[in-house]
């Protein structure tokens, strides 16, 4: 691991906190600031999550840069999905789940009681691990969101939204002749792009993706990764992944979670070439996880 430590210059890591290989009893996240990243609009502060009595997340604070890809990595069960689901309040649907702390989008607290969850989920879309198109036609899949949110004034409006969403998801050319055949009849990779198109159709600002490629083969994965890179221009993307190569390829910022704690966050390059924390180092060299 000493090889990784010595790699690359430390120019982009102005020492805010010294690299500590010993774990202090009070947990301290290692933070390396992002250079020339867009300003964060999505910020989490001291987020703790409990499932019943069991604590799954401990005081996670992180800023998510706008129009960039942020990836969450970490061993299985460390709370990546849990944190991701806090961002669009999908955890509300789990009865035993309690969320403490603040998550803000444009300085509006997402856990404010006056906030409408339905509206929030239109602003923060989600793509799941297993492609989960509705058992309806391709068209209906994409049109569903705009319909329930009343985004289309006419039928042609709706058709336009569907077409442009499918185009943005890079799926239109493959399905334009069979828009009315079932979405479940597509291949896994196509289904996942359909789910991305579905999420895009309501015009979200943030797209959350929980291991979007883990059920796909390498070619389909490459296509999705390319797509994510394109989407970055218009959307703020947060992606959970088990593949460090994928995190390195698609994301600008990476956060490493371990046992419910955010251990280290910073520019992707820095994390993989020069991890500051011992646990991060062990994880990316394959010792834990």
């Amino acid at each position: 691991m000493s090889t990784t430590l010595s790699a690359r210059g430390a120019t982009d890591m102005s020492g805010t906190s010294a690299p500590s290989t010993t774990q202090a009893p009070a947990h301290q996240t290692v933070r390396v600031p992002m250079v020339d990243a867009n300003l964060p609009r999505l910020k989490a502060k001291d987020v703790s999550v409990f499932y019943g009595d069991k604590q799954a997340l401990y005081d996670v604070s992180i800023d998510v840069p706008e129009k960039a890809v942020t990836s969450f990595i970490g061993p299985s069960g460390c709370g990546k999905s849990t944190f991701l689901r806090c961002i669009n309040r999908m955890n509300d649907t789990i009865e035993s789940c309690r969320v403490l702390g603040d998550i803000t989008l444009d300085d509006q607290n997402l856990y404010d009681s006056s906030l409408d969850v339905v509206e929030l989920r239109a602003r923060i879309g989600m793509v799941f691990q297993k492609p989960n198109p509705f058992p309806k036609s391709i068209f209906e899949n994409v049109a569903y969101g705009p319909k329930i949110h009343g985004l289309a004034r006419s039928k042609t409006d709706l058709e336009e939204i569907v077409e442009s969403s499918l185009k943005k998801a890079g799926l239109f050319n493959e399905v334009k002749d069979r828009l009315h055949s079932p979405g479940t009849g597509l291949s896994g990779g196509q289904q996942q792009r359909l789910c991305i198109a579905r999420a895009i159709a309501v015009g979200p600002e943030v797209i959350l993706m929980d291991e979007p490629c883990s059920a796909l083969d390498p070619i389909a994965t490459a296509i999705i990764e390319e797509l994510i890179d394109e989407l970055r221009e218009n959307y703020t993307i947060v992606i959970v992944t088990h593949s460090m190569q994928q995190a390195a390829r698609v994301s600008q910022k990476t956060a490493f979670f371990h046992l419910g704690k955010l251990i280290e966050e910073g520019p992707t390059e820095g994390i993989f070439t020069n991890p500051r924390d011992k646990k991060t180092q062990d994880y990316i060299t394959g010792r834990i996880g």
Binding site: V118, E119, R121, F128, F134, P135, Y144, G145, A199
Partner: protein
């Protein structure tokens, strides 16, 4: 952590391995033999049941008819008062035509060949077509039960006279009619289109079929919406706590309550407290819905549960409200399962007898009910009534009615299976 004493499968001596393998195969074969044996027994018993019913009942699907020519003379029939005319005399003249040139005595015996209600058949035919007055009417009249049995060979001519229901003279009179080629045995449509009667030859199931239909409709109208609403609440909204646990256990218990208990409840509550009419399909349907309700709740909950969570997540993630998730996605996907379960629940209700007996749906009623408040029987109670009747003709009719009921049940279950295969989705 190396365990030197570990033995791998490949280390076993060949003969030990062969012996173990043989034992394993033998066990497999035994298990399969048990299964085949059990199925053979079940299918065999079912076959015996159906065979008995068919053997006992097939005779009831035909009915002996006699072609009679009735002179509708103006002397007996008054065109202005058809209902009050002397139809009995008309029938007597018709019977005379059956026995041209025979003695008064033979004709007297022959009158019994026709069903007791012949005069009403003639009357109704003339009322339907008043231009017949002054003409003659040719009518296929059902033969009364003993002659029907004689024609079908159930009544054995070779028995000594004192051990059969027809005397030698009566049989002789019948033979005169038969020799003229006036006796036929067409399909017994009356079995389906007539209501109950004291006389087996004209007794039919239409009252019972209509009564069962009304009762099932009432049962469906009550239990389907209530059951689905209850299941949706319990499955999608209710918090998991002691109270919902108690409700759940009780619903499951309700499904196991003997049906006669529901009948007693119907008697005590619907008839005595609410004062609803006895024997009415409305009350029958209400009682049956008490029994179908738990079934529908349970199948609906299972159908809702089997909708994959990924679909709910997808919809929630799109910003659908709970109501939208349920109405747009979960319920449509669960519907095939719900419908299948409902049809099976209704089929059970169709065969239910005990609760209907208690609310009086086993009365003797000779016309189909005109509405849900009118007294009526139902198919299983009609079987119960007929099984209790002494006439020989009702024995075959009881089996036939059971076959008709089984036919309805099989049809309903077939529809359920068809729906399941047709609508069920795979994802």
């Amino acid at each position: 952590m190396t365990d030197t004493s570990a033995v791998s499968v490949s280390d076993r001596p060949a003969d030990v391995a062969a012996r173990l393998r043989k034992k394993r195969y033998a066990a497999d074969r035994r298990l399969r033999a048990y299964g085949i044996g059990a199925i053979t027994v079940a299918v065999g018993l079912l076959g015996i049941l159906i065979a008995t019913l068919v053997l006992g009942g097939y005779q009831a699907f035909t009915q002996t008819h006699v072609r009679v020519t009735f002179p509708i003379s103006t002397q007996n029939v008054d065109a202005d008062d058809l209902r009050g005319s002397n139809w009995r005399a008309v029938v007597t003249e018709g019977v005379e035509n059956l026995f041209p040139g025979q003695s008064e005595e033979v004709r007297g015996l022959g009158a019994r060949i026709l069903t007791n209600n012949t005069q009403f058949f003639v009357r109704d035919a003339v009322i339907a077509n008043p231009s017949l007055v002054g003409e003659t009417l040719v009518l296929e009249v059902p033969a009364s039960d003993p002659y029907d049995q004689l024609n079908k060979g159930v009544l054995d001519r070779d028995l000594p006279e004192n051990r059969r229901r027809l005397t030698d003279e009566q049989i002789a009179a019948y033979d005169i009619v038969e020799e003229q080629g006036l006796v036929s045995r067409p399909f017994n449509w009356a079995l389906f289109f007539n209501a109950d009667s004291r006389f087996p030859e004209i007794a039919g199931l239409s009252g019972a079929i209509v009564g069962s239909f009304y009762a099932l409709m009432i049962c469906f109208v009550i239990s389907f919406p209530v059951g689905i609403a209850a299941a949706i609440y319990l499955e999608e909204f209710a918090p998991r706590n002691r109270y919902t646990d108690i409700i759940e256990v009780n619903i499951n218990n309700l499904a196991a309550v003997p049906s006669i208990v529901f009948g007693l409840l119907g008697l005590a509550v619907f008839l005595q407290i609410f004062g609803l009419p006895r024997s009415a399909p409305l009350v029958g349907g209400m009682v049956l819905s008490l029994m179908t309700l738990p079934t529908i709740i349970i199948v609906t909950r299972n159908a809702l549960k089997s909708v994959p969570p990924s679909i709910r997540e997808a919809a929630l993630g799109m910003g659908a409200s709970k109501h939208q998730v349920i109405m747009h996605h979960v319920l449509p996907l669960a519907l095939p399962g719900i419908l299948t379960g409902t049809i099976i629940g209704l089929a059970q209700a169709l065969g239910e007898t005990a609760p209907l007996l208690l609310i009086g749906m086993n009365s003797f009623i000779t016309s189909p009910p005109g509405g849900v408040m009118e007294a009526s029987t139902a198919l299983p109670t009609q079987i119960f009534i007929w099984a209790d009747s002494p006439e020989r003709g009702f024995v075959a009719r009881t089996s036939a009615a059971i076959l008709v009921l089984l036919g309805f049940l099989i049809t309903m279950n077939a529809i359920a299976i068809f729906l399941r295969q047709r609508l069920e989705r795979t994802w």
